[in-house]
């Protein structure tokens, strides 16, 4: 187990290095440079500025400076906002995105497991039909439509009751988080429901469930001890990629609900060509996702001993 963990961690570090290099090379191929515009008025000033920021050095040397800074955890200073470090931006806005993302993942996982198990139990009956219809809807409707519809419904509900049930946009309290998290987790929940359903149906027909029934165990106990615990395993394997999808999918929800998260900041930075913020955010997000996938994989090994043996 320790050897496996170590191996995964080393792989993860190499992957992060790959992400950092790819980001560096990609950003170096962006047409124009940060000094074009009004900052460098003539060639002499331009040369001075280039020397100051190290932009006159050969690409390899710039690359090593960049990697060196990354190793020290320094993402640089924003190009468009005065005196603002990328580290500060991440420190300030990432917790917001992370809170929203975690809430959405919990929501999607719980909902997916619950609905999936329910549809499998009521296979080909009314609850199954209704839930599977909603699932297909959840997979086919883009998140921005859910976000818009959710907001619209909330506005109408608030108007109907004459009080503010939940805030329509913004961030701060738990009540601000509920609807965005629900919208953000919707697509993943639909996907997990489908997965849970097919996994549960497979388990229902397995030998050990039949044996348990033959022994005369109560149905509730078979459900919780035999069926649910085994059917949940495939859901856990896809949880890593699901977290990735949810965190990056947060952009739209953050835009629509005016949440001051890192995703919204990233989109803003891209629109303003804020190079250091783009690079810093990409590397940070990439590292976070790689780390999350490793954690989920290790968790899977801990939950399912069969994986550890391989």
């Amino acid at each position: 187990m320790w050897k496996y963990t170590l191996k995964r961690l080393i792989q993860g570090i190499i992957t992060v290095w790959f992400i950092a290099t790819a980001t560096f090379l990609a950003m170096h191929n962006v047409p124009g440079d940060p000094l074009s515009g009004q900052r460098a008025t003539n060639a002499a000033i331009r040369a001075n500025l280039e020397a100051k920021y190290g932009l006159d050095k050969p690409l390899t040397e710039q690359y090593f400076i960049y990697i060196g800074n990354l190793l020290q955890g320094d993402f640089g200073i924003s190009f468009t906002q005065q005196n603002r470090q990328v580290n500060d931006i991440i420190r300030e806005h990432f917790p917001v995105s992370a809170t929203l993302g975690i809430l959405a993942v919990i929501f999607a996982a719980l909902g997916g497991v619950l609905w999936g198990a329910l549809t499998a139990l009521y296979r080909n009956r009314l609850p199954d039909t209704i839930i599977m219809f909603l699932v297909i809807l959840g997979i086919s409707v883009p998140s921005f439509v859910f976000a818009a519809l959710g907001q619209l419904t909330l506005v109408n509900l608030n108007a109907l009751f004459g009080i503010s049930l939940l805030p329509v946009a913004g961030w701060g309290t738990v009540s601000h988080m509920l609807l965005p998290a629900l919208v953000l987790g919707m697509g993943t929940m639909a996907y997990l429901t489908r997965l849970m359903r097919s996994s549960m149906l497979e388990i229902i027909h397995s030998d050990y469930v039949r044996t348990a029934k033959a022994k005369g165990l109560p149905a509730a106990r078979i459900f919780t001890r035999h069926q649910l615990r085994n059917a949940i395993l495939p859901v856990i394997t896809v949880l890593g990629p699901a977290i990735a999808a949810i965190t990056t999918g947060g952009f739209v929800v953050e835009l629509v609900f005016a949440i001051p998260g890192l995703g919204r900041y990233f989109v803003q930075a891209v629109q303003q060509l804020d190079y250091t913020v783009i690079m810093g955010t990409t590397v940070f997000y990439g590292a976070f996702l790689v780390f999350m996938v490793i954690v989920v994989d290790l968790l899977y090994g801990w939950i399912d001993p069969r994986v550890r043996l391989q």
């Binding site: 990609a26 921005f144 497979e202 990409t282």
Partner: protein
């Protein structure tokens, strides 16, 4: 208890006589079916998949044949009809060209008191006049699209009058065929509003001058038109957007962009993935290790972040639509999933006995790949392709929605949804139509993918 039956009672020697041999014992009663015929027969039984298939055919026809049937330029602005819902009233009455007004009241509007109309209100001008209010220091005139209720929401202040005398005002500011609520609030001497106000609801009719009719070709050139006649403005079956562009034409243009990216990009990256995965799986050994490790790295890249990053790297210049950069970015980032899948399949097929047999008979590697391996993975590849389409359409819509996709004059369903979102409360059709098209397309491809998976591959058959 029954007595046991002896064998001699039920069997006799005649039962052991050989039966006569029939000639047609080995005949095949039905024509044999190939893999694809069998798959097609299975697919045909799946009603949802067939409906989806027809939907997809319909969407393709909408994108390709639609612009040919509905020849309206999607970029053309109809300034008379901005943000029109589908089925809105298009009639307009022809009136004389605008002439300045000196405050005279038309004969049929004479009489009355308070704030009232001086002439028939139309989209050319709303002419109001009012009586003097004793004790007032002045008036302020407001316009709103809702009735001023208890909150005294008067709307937009359009004019101030510093005299308490009777006055008149002509409003020509961006008038649409709608009902406007004009409020005349009385000001106290210090300029503050008093609680004394009068509100007038003015239904505005759409009018058009004869010159405008001729200029916009709303009536046949030879038609004899006179003031007071009614003409119909250009038809927009699905309404118009916030710049007065025809929604139907834009949806068709958007369908071309969205379906182009949604179908061509998966086709290209599945092709790349198949080539890559087949090479890795077939060659095996160190090359396989190296190739798949690289694929692992590409998978680890945060997909949407890098899509956005690539959009920046390619830099969309003026006049470019941004479709090609998105296509390239999708292909560069999305191939590894297919490569992994195909490699796994090839590795599995390599173990099969028929490959060994073929090799034993002297088949070359290229023959093995083309004759055995590719056809045997075709089902998996086709299913992957079908599921890749909705995800590519989603990616395009998502990127265009946050403004990182196609550049503005180009229509795509995602960018149209983005534009519609801002006017969701007042003109919901601008958001509903494009998002409906995205949802239907994604739904159809997903259901078709499910059907294909069930029809093509018994191992992947889902528990339904």
């Amino acid at each position: 208890m029954t007595t046991p039956v002896s064998h001699s009672q039920i069997l006799n020697s005649a039962d052991f006589a050989p039966i006569t041999q029939r000639a047609d014992v080995h005949a095949i009663s039905r024509p044999s079916q190939s893999y694809w015929q069998d798959a097609w027969a299975r697919l045909k039984k799946n009603r949802r998949a067939i409906v989806s298939l027809w939907l997809i055919v319909g969407l393709l026809a909408f994108a390709l044949l639609g612009p040919w049937l509905w020849q309206i330029d999607p970029a053309r602005q109809d300034i008379d009809q901005i943000s029109q819902a589908p089925g809105a009233d298009r009639s307009a009455t022809i009136v004389a060209p605008y002439a300045p007004w000196d405050g005279t009241v038309a004969a049929e509007f004479a009489g009355g008191s308070g704030l009232r109309l001086a002439m028939a209100a139309n989209s050319q001008a709303v002419r109001l006049h009012w009586d003097a209010v004793p004790g007032a220091a002045g008036f302020r005139l407001y316009r709103n699209i809702f009735a001023a209720d208890d909150e005294m929401a008067f709307g937009l202040p359009i004019a101030d009058f510093p005299t308490p005398a009777a006055g008149y005002y002509e409003d020509r500011l961006d008038l649409r065929p709608d009902t406007y609520y004009y409020t005349l609030a009385v000001q106290a001497a210090d300029g503050t509003l008093t609680a004394n106000y009068q509100t007038l609801a003015v239904p505005v009719n759409r009018v058009i001058t004869l010159d405008e009719v001729r200029e916009r070709e709303l009536a046949p050139a030879e038609a004899a038109l006179d003031i007071g006649d009614e003409v119909h403005l250009a038809l927009h079956p699905l309404g118009t957007d916030y710049l007065g562009r025809d929604m139907l034409a834009r949806l068709m243009a958007g369908a071309q962009v969205s379906l182009f990216i949604g179908i061509i990009a998966p086709f290209l990256y599945v092709l790349l993935g198949v080539a890559y995965g087949a090479t890795a799986g077939f060659v095996g050994g160190r090359v396989d290790q190296l190739l798949m490790r690289f694929a692992d790295f590409v998978v680890a890249l945060p997909f949407l972040l890098f899509m956005i990053l690539f959009q920046v790297v390619f830099g969309i210049g003026p006049g470019e639509s941004g479709i090609v950069p998105m296509l390239i970015a999708l292909v560069v980032l999305a191939w590894p999933a297919t490569a992994r899948l195909v490699r796994g399949q090839i590795l599995q097929i390599r173990q099969e006995a028929y490959i060994s047999a073929s090799r034993l008979l002297g088949a070359r590697s290229s023959y093995l790949v083309w004759r055995h391996m590719i056809p045997n993975t075709m089902g998996v590849i086709l299913v992957t392709l079908t599921f890749a389409v909705p995800s590519a359409i989603f990616t395009e819509a998502f990127l265009s929605f946050i403004g990182m996709g196609v550049a503005p004059p180009t229509a795509s369903w995602g960018s149209m949804s983005n534009e519609g979102l801002a006017r969701m409360l007042t003109h919901p059709h601008e958001l509903i139509f494009p998002s409906l098209f995205i949802s239907i397309t994604v739904l159809a491809f997903n259901l078709l993918g499910d059907g294909l998976r069930d029809a093509l591959d018994a191992r992947m058959r889902s528990f339904e």
